[in-house]
């Protein structure tokens, strides 16, 4: 099906265009052409979506490009497909991608690497599409690594800053650790299924062709891959650092799309994960601890983007909690709503940073409400959505997850609620400190403050609307019977019977849970309001912090730990080996040669120039020859 290829290739063409000739064109043209290339994909994705809604299941669209590899038992086509899951992802990617492109035209205005930025963004979209559209695991891996690469390029976009470069490398390398897990998973799949095609693998799994151990191993390997990409413990530390990139990048890659690839992977492989309860348990607990840890760290961060980054990690943890209990549609639901409001928040923060002239520290902000109204309102919507304000998208998606968890593991539910509470706290903290109160920045910054241009605000508004109404996608049955659980039904061909064994709580319980969620939201709001509005307190300086707060502000010293345990140790190992290498292996020859040289000197000494010594040696030689030959 050609359309799929057009969807895929359109961003690629955009990439080549901006990359090769974008340098010589005015910014506007480059920017718009790249954006349009995404728009094309978006429109076509809509068409695909439309086409899928008519059919009742199965991968409706499939297109095979060419044989990529055909060796031994590995046979991989360069093939893409679009089923219902994919189409959702495609819409999210191209839709939000398009908005962010628009946003960037203004945001990146005047940057020397403007064309490069758009080239990278387009390349990213291309890779992301490969990731979700691939019809086999290898295609997924292609996209998987490809987005990692783009993420690397974009984090280090301002390459003159060495710190940014370091962050970029950290992201890439952390991702690669995950990739190794994924790769191992691929190998396990190849060796057990002799194929990498989704259909073949899942069919094999369904027919019981795989042992539980094998499936568990595959799932854990895949999850390690997901850990890297979706920033779960222990591989989450790159994501906050990744905020070094331009803000649109953070919005698109590190909030809305790329980091959710892990979720996509697990949802895609739901057949396998359903067969591996142990792996599911692992996911559940990792997701939970990530969610709480990230939320705790988020409490004390002062960089507006860092807070959002930890919030992303935390929300991703939430999604994985959902995946851990097998609530795939809930996870997808949250994925989509999260894409909306987190993109919104990031773009909003970008707008703030833009207005502040590059300042990211919330302690230097305050009272921006009056200067940047559009940003203020949209950011407010985003904050409310993420904190779980009833009827906002985040409320529904979060509630769906919590409700499902409650029926299965009440303890997890409780901890997840705590996490949600903390989320509310830090989000309101950021919001209030940034927009309320009085301005705390310098005078020049104050002069500079202005509302962002339309190209920035329009995407904000669109995303705000989506954040508001996104909950409609999967309304609980409590509210409506006709359109309830639309998303769940939409995904049912993909998820198959994976969803069936989920027990939904009774309506009364669900009402109760919702009420609890609302009260949590209110509690968070009141607490922060009390602290930052009524007392108008400003987050303290790092030095003042003690105890738990200090740990939180320092991210629980995980970076330092990793630095000590992995980076330093491997570096010192490398140094030692380096010495050993020049000493032992390069020296081996030296020893041998000096040994030979020594012998050479010895022989020279024997050759002392005296005839009679020579004669003596000769006679001894003769005697030896005689004795050995005749008597021995």
């Amino acid at each position: 099906m050609g359309m799929l290829f057009i969807i895929l290739l359109s961003p690629l063409i955009g990439f080549l265009f901006s990359g090769i000739i974008g340098k010589y064109l005015p910014e506007k043209i480059t920017g718009w052409i790249s954006s349009l290339s995404i728009l094309v994909s978006f429109v076509l994705s809509l068409q695909v979506f439309q086409g899928l809604s008519d059919t009742n299941g199965g991968p409706a669209f499939e297109a095979i490009g060419f044989t990529f590899l055909s060796v031994g038992d590995i046979f991989v086509d360069f093939a893409i497909q679009a089923d219902r899951l994919t189409s959702l992802m495609m819409l999210v990617i191209t839709g939000i991608g398009f908005l962010i492109h628009l946003y960037s035209i203004s945001y990146m205005h005047g940057d020397k690497g403007f064309y490069k930025f758009f080239a990278y963004l387009n390349l990213f979209v291309f890779n992301m599409l490969v990731l979700v559209m691939g019809s086999n695991f290898l295609m997924l891996f292609f996209g998987w690594e490809g987005v990692g690469l783009c993420s690397y390029l974009l984090i280090g976009f301002w390459y003159r800053n060495a710190e940014y470069g370091k962050a970029a490398r950290k992201a890439f390398i952390m991702n690669r650790i995950g990739d190794l897990g994924l790769l191992v998973g691929l190998f396990l799949v190849i060796s057990s299924c002799k194929s990498l095609n989704y259909s073949d693998v899942f069919a094999a799994a369904k027919s019981g062709g795989l042992s539980t151990e094998m499936v568990t191993a595959i799932c854990i390997s895949f999850f390690i891959g997901a850990m890297g990409k979706s920033a779960q413990i222990p591989l989450y530390t790159w994501l906050p650092d990744a905020m070094a990139g331009p803000t649109p990048v953070s919005a698109l890659i590190h909030a809305a799309t790329m980091v959710t690839a892990g979720v996509y992977l697990v949802v895609r492989c739901n057949v396998l994960f359903e067969m591996a309860p142990a792996a599911q348990q692992l996911i559940l607990w990792i997701g939970l601890s990530t969610s709480i840890l990230a939320a705790l760290i988020g409490l004390k961060q002062n960089d507006i983007k860092k807070v959002l980054a930890y919030s992303t990690v935390s929300q991703l943890g939430l999604m994985f909690i959902a995946l851990g209990v097998g609530a795939y549609s809930a996870a997808m639901f949250h994925l989509i709503t999260h894409a909306f409001f987190k993109a919104l928040l990031f773009l909003g923060s970008g707008s703030v940073i833009h207005g502040m002239g590059g300042e990211q520290d919330i302690r230097k902000m305050g009272g921006l409400k009056s200067y940047m109204p559009v940003t203020y309102y949209t950011f407010l919507i985003g904050t409310l959505a993420i904190s779980g304000m009833p009827l906002f998208s985040g409320f529904f998606s979060k509630d769906e997850i919590l409700a499902t968890v409650f029926t299965q593991q009440p303890i997890v539910w409780f901890l997840a609620v705590v996490s949600a509470l903390i989320t509310g706290v830090y989000m309101f903290r950021v919001f209030l400190v940034t927009f309320m109160g009085s301005f705390r920045g310098t005078e020049t910054q104050k002069q500079h403050l202005h509302e962002s241009p339309a190209l920035i605000t329009v995407p904000l508004i669109i995303l705000a609307i989506l954040s508001l109404v996104g909950g409609l996608l999967n309304l609980p049955e409590l509210f409506t019977h006709d359109h309830a659980q639309w998303l769940k039904h939409w995904l049912s061909p993909v998820l198959g019977n994976a969803q069936d064994d989920l027990h939904h709580p009774s309506h009364s319980t669900e009402w109760m849970l919702m009420g609890l969620a609302v009260s949590v939201f209110i509690a968070a709001f009141l607490y922060t309001r009390n602290k930052y509005i009524s007392h108008a307190s400003v987050p303290e300086e790092d030095a003042e912090m003690t105890g738990a707060a200090k740990w939180s502000a320092h991210k629980f010293f995980v970076d330092e730990l990793y630095d000590k345990v992995f980076v330093r140790s491997s570096e010192s190992l490398g140094s030692t080996m380096n010495k050993a290498d020049s000493g032992i292996f390069a020296g081996l020859m030296g020893w041998v040669s000096s040994g030979i040289s020594y012998m050479s000197g010895l022989f020279s000494k024997v050759q002392n120039g005296r005839i009679q010594y020579y004669l003596l040696y000769m006679v001894i030689g003769v005697i030896l020859m005689l004795v050995i030959n005749i008597f021995i």
């Binding site: 009679q612 006679v619 005697i623 005689l626 005749i630 008597f631």
Partner: protein
């Protein structure tokens, strides 16, 4: 052992005794001139052995060539260079012992190896092969080529000796010893 030696023909015993004694004198005496004289004596006794072995021609040749020509040449050179006991280099005792041990070892080895090897030798003694007439006949028929060759060898040796002996200035000086040797 002693008995077997004493049981040998007295002529052989006597000659052997003289030969070995002279030989030892040659190698141990520190005066080169005495050495030469002892060596000449040794050659005489060896010539006597030749007679004993019915090799009359060689006995004579040995006397003329070796004891006569070559040894005189040696003596001449020694005199010419004025080498005597005083100019003889002193050799360390340790070296003597080492050399003696080595030579003794070789002797022991050879003796042990060739012990009882006489059985391996075809014995077909003929009294007359050593006579000048018979030997000459063979020499000028079967051994004509080597005989001619030895002449050429002499020529080469003569040229060589002249080459080394003559002065750098290419002044044709007579070098007696080289002339003598090539007769």
């Amino acid at each position: 052992m002693l008995l077997t030696i004493l049981g040998l023909p007295p002529a052989f015993l006597l000659l052997s005794f003289i030969t070995i004694l002279c030989a030892l004198y040659v190698v141990t005496n520190t005066n080169p001139v005495y050495s030469v004289l002892a060596l000449i004596l040794a050659f005489f006794s060896i010539s006597a052995h030749y007679v004993l072995l019915n090799a009359q021609f060689l006995a004579v040749v040995n006397l003329i060539v070796y004891a006569g020509a070559i040894m005189v040449l040696f003596l001449f050179v020694l005199m010419l260079l004025n080498l005597n006991k005083e100019s003889e280099p002193i050799v360390k005792m340790g070296w003597h012992i080492g050399a003696a041990v080595t030579a003794g070892l070789l002797l022991v080895t050879l003796a042990a190896a060739l012990h009882r090897s006489s059985e391996q030798i075809m014995r077909n003694p003929a009294e007359d092969i050593g006579l000048v007439k018979n030997l000459g006949k063979v020499l000028f028929t079967d051994y004509l080529v080597p005989f001619e060759l030895s002449g050429i060898l002499f020529l080469a040796a003569m040229v060589g000796a002249v080459l080394l002996g003559k002065k750098q200035t290419n002044n044709k000086e007579n070098n007696n010893y080289s002339e003598t040797s090539s007769q």
